[in-house]
Each structure stands twice: as structure tokens, then as C-alpha cells.
């Protein structure tokens, strides 16, 4: 992989152990975490700390009766929809604002002020407007994602090398082409940073939304388990949520590696 360059200078046989060290480190950390978890369960009792094994059994059970799938789909539906809307708006607005520095200066304080609104606190009001379906949760997710993507993409648009834009203008590129083929690609590193922050937030926002209003979903299951003092159910829900975020993150990382494959590999960051 990316370690090929630097390890090629080293004697044969060193390439594989470098990967192993990382993998071994990960396994060791996972074992340590599980041990701490198990210790917590023994020290404080299952009401305060559901044991790992019981949590795993609960997840298997949920998978067996179909609850795992319906919960995951419900949470994913809300977070994906909110994510797509928030992301599209967060990307589009900086490109629109670029067209008018004066409008940007005028709008900026309002955007900053609106960021201060506590989004979860909006939920009761959103239920008033949109009812108890997916809509109020989608709006909350959208708001979380929108601001994160907006700020990172905005920074990216401002950071584009003006010389590249001048070059593109001189060779006859239209402003639309420049936006698409110069500015957008230049800001991809910023965009992916925003995505990586926004995606877990989208899932947690959907889950918190489900605490307040839902008939299914990971958040709904966690909240119901909490009401029944079913700590194992709470832990199972958290593990499912974490797993979901990890899977999504892995997908984003793969997408990023593909989209930014042109970037020189940073030697200091190699394994």
C-alpha cells in the first residue's frame, strides 16, 4: 500500500512487520477496552454496566427477530435524508456567496447567529410543524450537517489558489466551469474533512431525535430500554450505533482515498 515507498529503502522482510505492529496494536487496544468494560460490569453491577457478553447476546437476539434491521434502516433513513439535504445546501451556499462578496459580508453575521440556535431544543417546535413522522428528525439532522459542511466548504472556497483561477480564465473557462473543475476539486480535502465530522453527527442527531419522537429506530430502542431500566438494551443500541458510524466512516475514507489519489503521500504519515 502507501507504505511501499518508504519500506522499499529497508531490507526485505521489514515491510510486513510494520503492518503487523499496527494490527497488533489495534487488537491489544480492543482487548484492553473489552477488559475494562468487563471489569466495570463486575465492579458496578449489570444495572450500571451491561457486561460485554450479555450485550453481544442481545445484539444477536435483535438480529434474529429482525429488530436490528428495522432499527438500523429507520435510523439510516432519517440520517441519510437529512445528510443529503444538509450537505447539498452546505456545498451550494458557499458557491453562491462567492458570486457576491458584498452579499456574503451582509449575510455572514446572520449565519453565525443562526448557528447558535440549540438544534435539539427545536424538536418540540418542529413536531408542531411537521408532525411526529420522520420530518422533524430529518430537519434536525439537516441543520447539524448543513453548518459543518457550510463552514468547511466555505473555508475551502476561500482557500483556492487564485492563480489557478486566473489561469483557467485566461484559457477561456467560464465561471461555471471554473467552479466545477477548479474550485470544487481544490476544496475536496476540506469537503471530506467536513464529511467525516458531519456523518457521525448525522447519525447521533437522528438517534437523539428518535429519543423524542419515534416508533422505531436505534434511538427509539435505546430510549425504551432506558425507560425499562434495561441497561443491556441501552448498551446494545450504543454498540449498534457505533458500528454503523464505523461502517459509514470506512466508506467515506475509501471514497476520499479514491477522490484524492492525486495527492502526494505524506511520508511522515506512513506506517
Amino acid at each position: 500500500m502507501s507504505s511501499a515507498d518508504i519500506t522499499s529503502d529497508l531490507p526485505e522482510g521489514h515491510a510486513i512487520p510494520r503492518q503487523w505492529i499496527v494490527t497488533a496494536g489495534r487488537i491489544a487496544l480492543a482487548v484492553a477496552l473489552l477488559a475494562a468494560w468487563e471489569w466495570g460490569a463486575r465492579a458496578f453491577g449489570p444495572l450500571f454496566f451491561a457486561p460485554p457478553l450479555a450485550t453481544a447476546q442481545r445484539i444477536v437476539e435483535m438480529a434474529g427477530n429482525g429488530k436490528l434491521l428495522t432499527d438500523t434502516i429507520a435510523t439510516l433513513r432519517v440520517s441519510a435524508l437529512g445528510f443529503v439535504i444538509g450537505c447539498a445546501a452546505g456545498v451550494a451556499l458557499p458557491f453562491l456567496l462567492r458570486l457576491s462578496p458584498r452579499a456574503t459580508a451582509a449575510i455572514e453575521p446572520f449565519i453565525l447567529a443562526s448557528m447558535g440556535i440549540p438544534k435539539y431544543a427545536l424538536t418540540p417546535w418542529l413536531i408542531l410543524w411537521f408532525g411526529i413522522g420522520d420530518a422533524p428528525k430529518v430537519v434536525v439532522v439537516t441543520l447539524f450537517v448543513f453548518y459543518i459542511v457550510l463552514i468547511t466548504v466555505f473555508a475551502g472556497v476561500r482557500g483556492v489558489d487564485q492563480r489557478l483561477i486566473n489561469m483557467a480564465r485566461i484559457i477561456g473557462a467560464s465561471e461555471r466551469t471554473i467552479a466545477r473543475k477548479v474550485i470544487w476539486i481544490s476544496l475536496l480535502p476540506f469537503f471530506f474533512t467536513g464529511l467525516k465530522v458531519a456523518l457521525p453527527r448525522a447519525v447521533s442527531a437522528a438517534i437523539v431525535g428518535e429519543f423524542l419522537v419515534a416508533v422505531e429506530g436505534i434511538g427509539f430502542s435505546i430510549e425504551r430500554a432506558r425507560q425499562l431500566s434495561d441497561t443491556t438494551g441501552v448498551f446494545a443500541g450504543i454498540v449498534v450505533a457505533v458500528t454503523l458510524v464505523l461502517i459509514i466512516n470506512a466508506a467515506v475514507n475509501a471514497l476520499e482515498r479514491h477522490a484524492l489519489r492525486w495527492r502526494p503521500t505524506d511520508r511522515d504519515m506512513q506506517l
Partner: protein, 265 residues
């Protein structure tokens, strides 16, 4: 006479806009006039900070003039009253800048094809031309390399042929070979002269290197420090084709060199 003039600069002046409550900023370029003939390779030599890049930016229309006017191919293209810019003058003026400004996410071939792509003119003929130009400057085999994988000289070549690929009649060059080592620079200069002899573009080549100005130019203008204006004009009667690496052995070289050096100071 007018038929052979490609570009006329008339009493050009440039100063940056005044700020409220401050003294008006000094002129960077003042009362500058010169013209460039069709197919001529004009070199402009002057010290760093003399406003050479500003001059080219105004001609390329990524900056506005504050006084005077510019006539391109018989048509008045810029003047002090100008409100809107037409960068590159609808692809008739190419610009090779000091930085190569290659798009870092595009390979050599995709960078060279970029002008055709954005102009909607990417066809088989364009691809063939790009491939020929890549061959002409010795970049064959490096088509699929990203800019960060190329040497400084290779990036300069890629930037040069990216401008040649869409065939603008006039090309501005702003110290394009300043940042490479002496040996590579000589090679790049010879590449440029060879391509120029084939295509006969009108070129304005700006440099601070007197030897380069003599080796390349049909004529050299000497620019003085701020406000920049033309201090002297030297025809360079050294016959072509010229061997750049032996240029200082050519008869007349020393005399021209001494004259220009005296004018620069």
C-alpha cells in the same frame, strides 16, 4: 505598418486605487508605449519589482490599466475607462506565468488537454496535437504523471505546451524559466525557440536575465524601476537559428550585453 503590428501599448499607466484619507499611491507603470510586430519575439528585461508582471497582467486582462490604452490586432482592447475584463481576450492571448499553475489533481496529458476541454474543443485532432507537443518537449512517457511527480523543468514544459495546444496567436511569458537550474533553463530556452520557429507566435517574454533576453529576442526592451517605463530599445541582430548555450560566443553579443546592462542600471 498597422497590418504588421500585433500589439500596441499607448501611454499605459498603472497605479493601485487610492484609499480614503491616504496620499494617492505612486504610479507603478507610467507613460509606457511600445508595440510588438506579428510573429515577433520581444523580450523585456528589467530588475525585479519593476512592474513587469503587472504589465503582462494588464495585457492578459486579469488586471486593469489606470491610464492609456492597448490595441490588439487593430482593435482597442483595454483602456483606463475599462470596467469589465476579458481574461485572455477570448483565447487570443496565452499566458505562461512564473509559477507553472498546473492543476495538481490532473496528470500531464490532462493538464495539457485542459484548455481544449474547458473550451469544448476536445476532439481527436486536439488529442493528436497534444501528443505531438508532449513529444516535442520530451515529455513522452510522463503523460500519466501528476505534477508533483515531475521535475521543475518538466512542469515548465507542460505549462508551456498547455498554452500552445489551443494555438493563441500571442503568448505572454513571465520569467517562466526563472526557477530552474542553469542547464535546464538552456534546454527550455532551446525548446522554446524551436517551437517558436515552427509556429511563429507573437511572444512577449519578460525576464530579469540579460543573457536570456538576448538569446531569445528579436528585440529587447529595457524597463526601469518604478514607475516602470521603457528606458531603451535594442534590436538583436544575432542570426537565427541560435544555439542558446553558445550565445555569448556570437559576434555582437558582448556589445549588446554591455549596452543593456548599462541601461538596466
Amino acid at each position: 505598418m498597422t497590418g504588421t503590428q500585433m500589439l500596441q501599448i499607448k501611454n499605459l499607466g498603472k497605479r493601485f486605487p487610492a484609499r480614503a484619507g491616504r496620499e494617492p499611491p505612486p504610479w507603478i507603470i507610467q507613460d509606457m508605449s511600445f508595440s510588438v510586430g506579428a510573429g515577433e519575439l520581444l523580450t523585456i528585461v528589467g530588475p525585479s519589482g519593476a512592474g513587469k508582471s503587472t504589465l503582462l497582467n494588464i495585457i492578459a486582462q486579469i488586471d486593469v490599466a489606470s491610464a492609456g490604452e492597448i490595441v490588439f490586432d487593430g482593435e482597442r482592447i483595454a483602456g483606463a475607462e475599462q470596467k469589465t475584463l476579458h481574461p485572455g481576450l477570448n483565447r487570443r492571448i496565452g499566458y505562461v506565468t512564473q509559477d507553472d499553475n498546473l492543476l495538481p489533481w490532473r496528470t500531464t496529458i490532462d493538464n495539457v488537454l485542459f484548455p481544449l476541454e474547458v473550451q469544448g474543443a476536445l476532439d481527436d485532432a486536439g488529442r493528436t496535437r497534444a501528443q505531438e507537443l508532449i513529444g516535442a518537449v520530451g515529455l513522452t512517457g510522463f503523460e500519466r504523471y501528476y505534477p508533483h511527480e515531475l521535475s521543475g523543468g518538466m512542469r515548465k514544459r507542460a505549462a508551456l505546451i498547455r498554452t500552445l495546444v489551443y494555438d493563441p496567436p500571442m503568448i505572454l511569458m513571465d520569467e517562466p524559466f526563472a526557477a530552474v537550474d542553469a542547464q535546464t533553463r538552456t534546454q527550455l530556452q532551446e525548446d522554446l525557440l524551436r517551437l517558436w520557429s515552427l509556429k511563429r507566435k507573437t511572444i512577449i517574454f519578460v525576464t530579469h536575465d540579460i543573457t536570456e533576453a538576448i538569446a531569445l529576442g528579436d528585440r529587447a526592451l529595457v524597463l526601469t524601476q518604478r514607475p516602470a517605463h521603457i528606458a531603451a530599445e535594442h534590436p538583436i541582430p544575432i542570426p537565427r537559428p541560435r544555439a542558446v548555450k553558445d550565445i555569448f560566443t556570437m559576434p555582437g553579443f558582448t556589445a549588446i550585453y554591455e549596452h543593456i546592462r548599462a541601461d538596466v542600471q
